[in-house]
Each structure stands twice: as structure tokens, then as C-alpha cells.
């Protein structure tokens, strides 16, 4: 059998905190020169200090710095506020299946803490070392989005610090709650432009006894679509379905009890056809690790994220290959057929070639009602193509939201250019 991992990145292990822009880790403690116009870095440890840090000047909020390149570049922030000093679990209540944390806790650290009580946050973005607040602000999600939802479904309470210094909460500690507006939803995908997520309450789940991965090889676009639909229409309840190109592998994950997951994986194997394999534990870990590495990519790469309606659109996959060939670059993608989304990593070629690919493929995606944003780009690309393409509905409301919460446009100015 051929090993399950595809080559994530020529010769390199994946790493999350990579881009040049991510490089300068902010110093701990408050830096000097407060009141001077020069840039400063602050790492507060309390909500109050956090509030004091953000009430004047332009502000860039960062966690572990794994997504500072997402969206359009922020223009000259005066204050960089690092949340890494607010990295504690405040209250884990295993019997209530909730955990209350500071926004700067890393996801992997949180998972390790939860695991000691047989629990987890069923959420597997590629950037496992990112902070939970940063993951909410980036609206990121991993393959298990299919089975468990995204962070927006798992956050049940939040404390936010807004640009005017207000410390406001919404939600609470209970998993069912409709009192008041859900401000955490507002922060989902806000990329630090509205406020800082200082604290979160999350709904946790019992750790599944086991996880199994079934892989099918030589799956072309049409087959990927067909097999994905066969799976979602079956009662096998996969928690992740991912298709990768150019490797043409379809990977399907089942979480559950030992016997239950085995039975579902077996049922899936009879549904699927072609070159099938069920991965052992190490192979499975290795595959999902390399999958994450592709999503994260490396400095100098361009990474596009497309949101579309569910499905593997053969037209889009063909268009990507054709535009990549046209521009002389290499494009590798992962697609989540059941929830609709593509992450494309572009390597090789110069900035002009990357920008050309972004423009061309974005047009293809937008023609079928989708959206393409840039998560990373080759230096020079920004001068040639916007980080955001077509805006979703309600962008006028987004502008007003931004204006109401941050009238001086101090938080991450420019992040959503050209939308606002």
C-alpha cells in the first residue's frame, strides 16, 4: 500500500507560525514609550489591562500570530496587543460540559487540559497552536466542521472589549440560551476589526473512544462528488469528508465508540468503490497532519480560501488547474464537499503569476455564487489583486456595525479593504 500522506510541502514539516509578517513575536509586558507615536507591543494579563491597551491609537490584536496575513494587510498599527498573556483556563466544569477560558489560550493546550477529563472541543482547524480567540476572530474551521459545526456553534458565552473601552458580555455558561443578541457571532470572522475576545465559554463534548479514517484513491472530481453524496445520504454519519487534488484522494473520518466507528467505517467501505484502504492510527494521524500543513502552507505561498455551496464543483476544479497551468504555478487544493469550501495553496511562479491566478479563479468561483479571500500571499501580490473579492449580502450592515463599534476605525484598519 502506498503511504497515506501526500507531500505537504516539499521537504518540510508543517509549521503554523511562519510568515515573515508573523515573525516579530511581541515582547512580553508593556513596552515603554506609551504616549509616543512609535509602535508598541503590549501583552496584558487582565481584562482591565487589555482594555487600557486598546482605547487609543490604531490597534492590531494578535494571538500566536498564525493568521496575521489573513485578509487585507492592516495599515501601520500603533499598538500590537498580544493575547498570549491571557492564556488560562478559568473554570472547567466537566459535569456541565463547559469550559471558561481566556481568549489567548492555545487550542492544543486547551485540548490537552480537556483530555485529562475525557473531554474535547470537537474542533480541528489546521492551526492547532492558534489561540481560541484568534480562531473565533478568523472564523476558521477544520475537516470536522461537517460532524460538529464550527466555533460559532461551540461558543456559548463571550466577554469582549470594544474600542470605546466597554467590557461587554453576551451568552453565558449554559449551553442553551437565547437571552439578548449573540455578540460572539458578531466576532466570528471579524478579524480583529470590532473588538477583542477576552474570555470565552465553550461547550465541550465527551472524547470519542476512537476515530477511524477510510481513504479512497484515484478519485477524480466527478467521483469525489458522487462518493461524497453517497456518504452523506447514508446513515454512516462521517464527521469529516475531504478531497485532495492533485492527489485525488478522498478521506472520510468516523468518530465514535470502538465498535460503532468500526461498523460505520465498514459500512462506508461497502458504499465506496475503487482503491480503498482503512488507515491505521499512525497513518491516519499522518494524513490529517499533512492535510493541515497544506492548509497552513509556507511563507511565500499564496493561500486562497473559497466558500461555496456544498459540493465539489467540477468546473471550479478544472478552472483551477487550467488557470494554474496558464500562469505557470502549482495549485494544490483540499475541498470539503459536504459543507462547501476549498483551500488552495499556490506555489512556484512569481507574484504576478499568483495574482493572475487569484483574479482568474476568483472570477470562476464568484460566477457560481461563491467567495474567495486571501489568507496568505506571495510578497507583491497585494499591489496587483485585492484580498477580498465579491462581498456577501449585508455588507452595508457590516459597514454600519464597524462604524457603530469603531467609529474612528482604529481596530485593524484596512483588514476588510476594499469592502470597508
Amino acid at each position: 500500500m502506498v503511504g497515506p500522506s501526500f507531500d505537504p510541502t516539499p521537504g518540510d514539516a508543517p509549521s503554523g507560525t511562519t510568515s515573515a509578517a508573523d515573525g516579530a513575536e511581541s515582547a512580553s509586558g508593556s513596552s515603554g514609550q506609551s504616549g509616543s507615536p512609535g509602535p508598541r507591543s503590549i501583552t496584558p494579563t487582565t481584562v482591565k489591562d487589555l482594555r487600557d491597551a486598546v482605547t487609543t491609537g490604531t490597534v492590531l490584536i494578535r494571538g500566536t500570530g498564525t493568521a496575521t496575513t489573513w485578509g487585507a494587510p492592516v495599515r501601520d498599527p500603533r499598538t500590537t496587543v498580544s493575547l498570549t498573556g491571557m492564556d488560562r483556563v478559568l473554570d472547567h466544569r466537566p459535569a456541565d460540559m463547559t469550559v471558561y477560558v481566556q481568549g489567548g489560550i492555545r487550542l492544543d493546550v486547551l485540548q490537552a487540559e480537556l483530555a485529562t477529563r475525557g473531554q474535547w472541543l470537537p474542533y480541528d482547524p489546521a492551526r492547532s497552536e492558534a489561540t481560541i480567540g484568534g480562531l473565533l476572530a478568523t472564523g476558521d474551521a477544520g475537516p470536522r466542521r461537517l460532524g460538529y459545526g464550527s466555533l460559532r456553534e461551540l461558543v456559548i458565552g463571550a466577554t469582549m472589549v470594544f474600542p470605546d473601552g466597554a467590557i461587554a458580555k453576551s451568552g453565558g455558561h449554559v449551553i442553551k440560551n437565547v437571552a439578548g443578541y449573540d455578540l460572539a457571532k458578531l466576532c466570528h470572522g471579524s478579524l480583529g476589526t470590532l473588538g477583542v475576545v477576552a474570555e470565552l465559554v465553550l461547550r465541550v463534548h465527551p472524547l470519542p473512544q476512537t476515530s477511524r479514517t477510510v481513504m479512497v484513491r484515484d478519485v477524480n472530481t466527478e467521483a469525489a462528488q458522487r462518493l461524497a453524496w453517497a456518504l452523506t445520504r447514508s446513515a454512516t454519519e462521517p464527521t469529516a469528508i475531504e478531497w485532495c487534488e492533485p492527489e485525488q484522494v478522498l478521506a472520510v473520518r468516523f468518530d465514535g465508540t470502538s465498535d460503532g466507528a468500526a461498523a460505520r467505517a465498514a459500512a462506508a467501505r461497502t458504499l465506496l468503490s475503487g482503491s480503498l484502504a482503512e488507515l491505521d492510527h499512525d497513518e491516519s494521524e499522518s494524513f490529517w497532519f499533512s492535510h493541515a500543513a497544506r492548509v497552513i502552507a509556507e511563507p511565500g505561498d499564496t493561500v486562497l480560501r473559497a466558500a461555496t455551496r456544498p459540493g465539489v464543483d467540477p468546473g471550479l476544479v478544472r478552472a483551477l488547474a487550467a488557470w494554474a497551468e496558464h500562469s505557470g504555478v502549482k495549485a494544490m487544493l483540499t475541498c470539503s464537499p459536504a459543507t462547501g469550501g476549498y483551500t488552495v495553496r499556490v506555489t512556484g511562479g512569481d507574484a504576478k503569476a499568483h495574482a493572475e491566478l487569484v483574479k482568474n479563479w476568483r472570477a470562476s468561483v464568484e460566477a457560481v455564487g461563491g467567495f474567495v479571500m486571501l489568507r496568505r500571499r506571495r510578497p507583491g501580490v497585494d499591489a496587483m489583486v485585492e484580498s477580498w473579492g465579491r462581498a456577501p449580502g449585508g455588507v452595508e450592515v457590516m459597514r454600519r456595525v464597524k462604524g457603530n463599534f469603531d467609529p474612528e476605525n482604529r481596530f485593524a484598519p484596512g483588514r476588510f479593504a476594499p469592502w470597508f
Binding site: D96, T98, F162, G180, E237, A307, G341, G370, G393
Partner: protein, 494 residues
């Protein structure tokens, strides 16, 4: 312009834009039918009721209201329990009952696109031929509409495992309060995305209680019908034993599809009304349902049955077939209607407590009930700590003020125990005055700022969610103020 002239102007503009298919109810008797929702203690006569014949007619109506400064509220089936669809005084009701078409069911993508007046149950019925269903199942699902579910972020018995309306709505086409039309969560309602870029406005809209615009088309996510469903009813000698069983099930790492609890008063009312086979003598009963793939469901169901027995269950009834399961649920879902047998009037509360504080909460409710001299029946979603205490009273005996006070005290007790005022019914006008018990002035200001971004003119379902002097009088005593230690992270409010 006075309100009467403004209403006349709205009517003129709306009929000019919509033509003769727009149904207009302007007579006093016709309008009276819309003066309340299922929270009948509150009644306000609307000035005009408009029933658009198509979704295209909604935007011109909203624009007409905007132009003439008239408040409006959208209305579905009127089953809401917090007064969310209560009209503004001499305002406009936009009744969406005629927008009741299921536009598309896509079995591969597992998405249905529907109009807001479609009933919750109709979506599942339309999807059933593909072995799909729409998961949220509020008790009123036979009649309540998806538009109302979106406004209230409705839950139901099965949201312990499957989540709320918010988890199942991918995109909403709305007429925004500025009169424009936007698809939130996508740009094209026929191409809904799971994760559209930008602020999650769809997430804000769902559960905003109709204050952020009027939904005209909704794209919902469908789920595969579970391979197996197993349901049991377990009777217990007291409420505490039932609560302990719930904790034990959760501690075992099991997430049932539903765990419902009824106390003796509720059991008797339901049994008398529906004859679901409940034991009228039981002090407390749990309905526990597991669903999913066959192998796992069987394993876990075995475990749950064992845990019930281990915690002193006096009778374990396992549904033998779909018909028996349906009967068990019919009893539970009839609970509120059945209360008519116990009392001419009742108020229903909807507070939530952390599940581990259920016993404490029930004890507190019993004390408040005794002190008020009013009976309280309890039917609730035990798995997620969502209580539904029913305060029974006789208006004819002048008990209504005491009942209202007791209901508010119960909701606020839930907040004091670290919970919430509302699990699924919404705040509406019912609990708006209790909001300062749960949220600080800063919290409410931030929420209001968000509301204003959607509705700068403040005409879209005003007077809901937020406490206003008109509704609540002067600032209520005891409003939450953050403690300085809380701001420094040394103590917690929740």
C-alpha cells in the same frame, strides 16, 4: 403627521406598490386577531395588518413603514411565548402566513430553501422522501413557522444533541430595516454557504427576535434521518434521583438526542390529556431518547438503561416501536396544552441553569411557589438545564399579579444560579425588564449598538428584548454592575 394619517399613507403606498393581491385587514375586529401571540397576557391593537401574497411585496411594505415612520412587526403563526410578535401601538403587522412555499429540497447538498410561513414540521415532511429531516423541533412544530423559528432561534427537545435553529440555518434572505434586500450568510439564497466571509450577520439575525429585519427566504440544513431511534421512559421516586440520573448519563460521555423531565403535576396533566401511558403516581419521569447509527445506539442505550436502574428507577418503559415512541412524545409535547386541566390560566417560564444545579433550581422554585401560594408544574429539557416551570393561577381570583411576579422571580433565580432568563422562548416583552439582572449596562449598550446598525430608524419590532422605561418603569433596582475585581479577572460573574 399623526399616526392615523401615517397609517393611511403606508396603506396607500403599500397597495400602490403591491397591487390587489396584497391582503389588507384594517377593520377593528380583523385587527384584533393580531393583538397578541401565545403570550396572551400582553395585547396591543395594531393599526393595520398586511398579508403579502409574495415575498416581493415585503420590501415595499417595509419601505412604506420607513417612509412614514410607522413601526412594524413580522408575524408567522403567532405561537411565540415571549410576546415577540406583539404589535406596536397602532403599528403595522406584516403577517407572512401566505408565504408558505417550500421552494427547493436538494437531497444531495441536504439543503431546503423555504419561505418564512412554512411550518417547521412541513420542512421535515417534504424532506422525508429523501430520508432527511429538519432537526430543531419546538413543541409547537406542527403550526409554528420557520420564519418565527429564525427570529427566536427556536430549540426543542432534541437540541441537546443537534443544536438550535442557528445551527441549521445557512442563509437568510431579508428585507433589512433600511428597506434593502440582502442575503445574509451568502449573497445568493440558492447558493448558501456554511461559512461566508465577513461578520456573521446571519448568526446575529437568527435569534434577534425580529428586530433586525424580515426574513423572506431561508436556506436550512437538513440532516440524514438517524438509522435507529430508541426511547425510554424512566420513573423515579423523587426529582433528585431523576436529576442524578441525568448527571450520570452525561458523565458517562453519552450525548442523548433528548432528555426530558416531568414532575408529578405535569405527568398527571399530560396523562389525563393524552393517555400516553405515563404512571400518574410517579414523582418524576425522564424521557430519554438516543439516536444514530445502529451499533452505537444499541450500546449506549443499554448503558443508559443500566444507569436509570442504578439510580433507583421504579419503572422503565422502553418504546417497542415507532408508534409507542410517538405516543410518549405526544404526551410530552402536549404538556402545555394539558395544563388547562389543572388551572384556567398559567404562565410558562423558560429559564436555564447549569445542568448540575437542576436540583437546587427545582428546590428554589418549590420554595418560591410555596411562598406565593401558587402551584408550579415542571416540564423541562433536563439535558441542557432548560426549565419550563408552569405557574398556575386563576385570574378570576385576582392571582395574575402574583403569578407574574412568581414567574419573573423564577427567571431571575435561574440567572442567580449562573444560568439564563431564556433557553428558547426569547425575551420579547415578557422578560425585557429582567434583562438588567443578567446583563450589565455595557452589555446592553453593545447589543443596542448592534441593533442600531441593522435598524437605524428603530421601527423594526421596537420595544422587544431591551428594557425600556415605558415597559419597565424607572431603572429597576438591583441592576447588575460589574465588580472591580471582575474587571481585573479575579472573580467571575457567571
Amino acid at each position: 403627521m399623526d399616526r392615523d394619517s401615517a397609517l393611511t399613507a403606508v396603506l396607500t403606498d403599500a397597495t400602490a406598490a403591491c397591487g390587489p393581491t396584497l391582503r389588507v385587514l384594517s377593520g377593528a375586529a380583523e385587527r384584533r386577531a393580531y393583538d397578541t401571540d401565545a403570550l396572551t397576557a400582553h395585547r396591543v391593537q395594531p393599526g393595520l395588518v398586511l398579508l403579502p401574497a409574495s415575498r416581493e411585496q415585503v420590501a415595499p411594505i417595509v419601505r412604506a413603514c420607513l417612509r412614514h415612520g410607522v413601526p412594524y412587526v413580522a408575524r408567522g403563526a403567532g405561537t411565540g411565548l415571549s410576546g415577540g410578535a406583539l404589535p406596536a401601538e397602532s403599528g403595522v403587522v406584516i403577517a407572512l402566513a401566505r408565504l408558505n412555499r417550500i421552494l427547493e429540497v436538494d437531497p444531495d447538498r441536504r439543503i431546503a430553501i423555504v419561505e418564512p410561513g412554512v411550518t417547521n414540521a412541513a420542512i421535515s415532511a417534504a424532506a422525508a422522501e429523501h430520508d432527511l429531516y429538519y432537526a430543531p423541533d419546538p413543541s409547537s412544530q406542527i403550526v409554528c413557522t420557520i420564519g418565527g423559528n429564525v427570529a427566536e432561534n427556536s430549540g426543542g427537545a432534541h437540541c441537546l444533541k443537534y443544536g438550535f435553529t442557528s445551527h441549521h440555518v445557512l442563509a437568510v434572505e431579508t428585507v433589512l430595516p433600511d428597506g434593502s434586500v440582502a442575503v445574509l450568510g451568502s449573497d445568493d439564497i440558492e447558493a448558501p454557504c456554511y461559512d461566508a466571509p465577513g461578520y456573521d450577520l446571519r448568526g446575529v439575525f437568527v435569534g434577534a427576535e425580529g428586530t433586525c429585519g424580515v426574513a423572506t427566504r431561508i436556506a436550512v440544513r437538513l440532516l440524514r434521518t438517524p438509522e435507529v431511534v430508541r426511547t425510554l421512559v424512566a420513573d423515579f421516586p423523587d426529582v433528585a434521583a431523576a436529576c442524578d440520573t441525568v448527571s450520570a448519563v452525561i458523565a458517562a460521555g453519552i450525548v442523548p438526542a433528548a432528555i426530558e423531565m416531568m414532575d408529578n403535576l405535569a405527568i398527571r396533566a399530560c396523562e389525563d390529556a393524552v393517555h400516553a401511558g405515563y404512571d400518574r403516581q410517579a414523582a418524576a419521569s425522564l424521557i430519554i431518547e438516543l439516536d444514530g447509527p445502529g451499533q452505537e445506539c444499541a450500546e449506549l442505550f443499554e448503558q443508559v438503561s443500566g444507569l436509570c436502574s442504578a439510580h433507583g428507577c421504579t419503572r422503565l418503559r422502553i418504546a417497542a416501536d415507532a408508534a409507542e415512541r410517538a405516543a410518549i412524545w405526544a404526551g410530552r409535547k402536549a404538556a402545555f396544552a394539558a395544563m388547562g386541566r389543572l388551572s384556567p390560566e398559567f404562565l410558562l417560564q423558560d429559564g436555564v441553569v447549569p445542568r448540575t444545579r437542576l436540583t437546587e433550581a427545582l428546590g428554589g422554585i418549590a420554595r418560591l411557589s410555596a411562598a406565593a401560594g401558587l402551584r408550579v408544574a415542571n416540564v423541562f429539557h433536563a439535558g441542557d438545564g432548560n426549565l419550563h416551570p408552569l405557574v398556575l393561577y386563576r385570574a378570576a381570583d385576582g392571582e395574575q399579579p402574583a403569578a407574574e411576579r412568581l414567574a419573573a422571580d423564577i427567571a431571575e433565580l435561574c440567572v442567580a444560579l449562573g444560568g439564563s432568563l431564556s433557553g428558547e422562548h426569547g425575551i420579547g416583552v415578557d422578560k425585557a425588564c429582567s434583562m438588567p439582572k443578567m446583563f450589565s449596562a455595557a452589555d446592553l449598550t453593545a447589543m443596542d449598538r448592534l441593533r442600531a446598525a441593522f435598524d437605524p430608524s428603530g421601527l423594526c419590532n421596537p420595544g422587544k428584548v431591551f428594557p425600556t422605561p415605558a415597559l419597565c418603569g424607572e431603572a429597576r433596582a438591583g441592576a447588575y454592575q460589574p465588580h472591580p475585581l471582575e474587571e481585573t479577572g479575579k472573580i467571575q460573574r457567571w
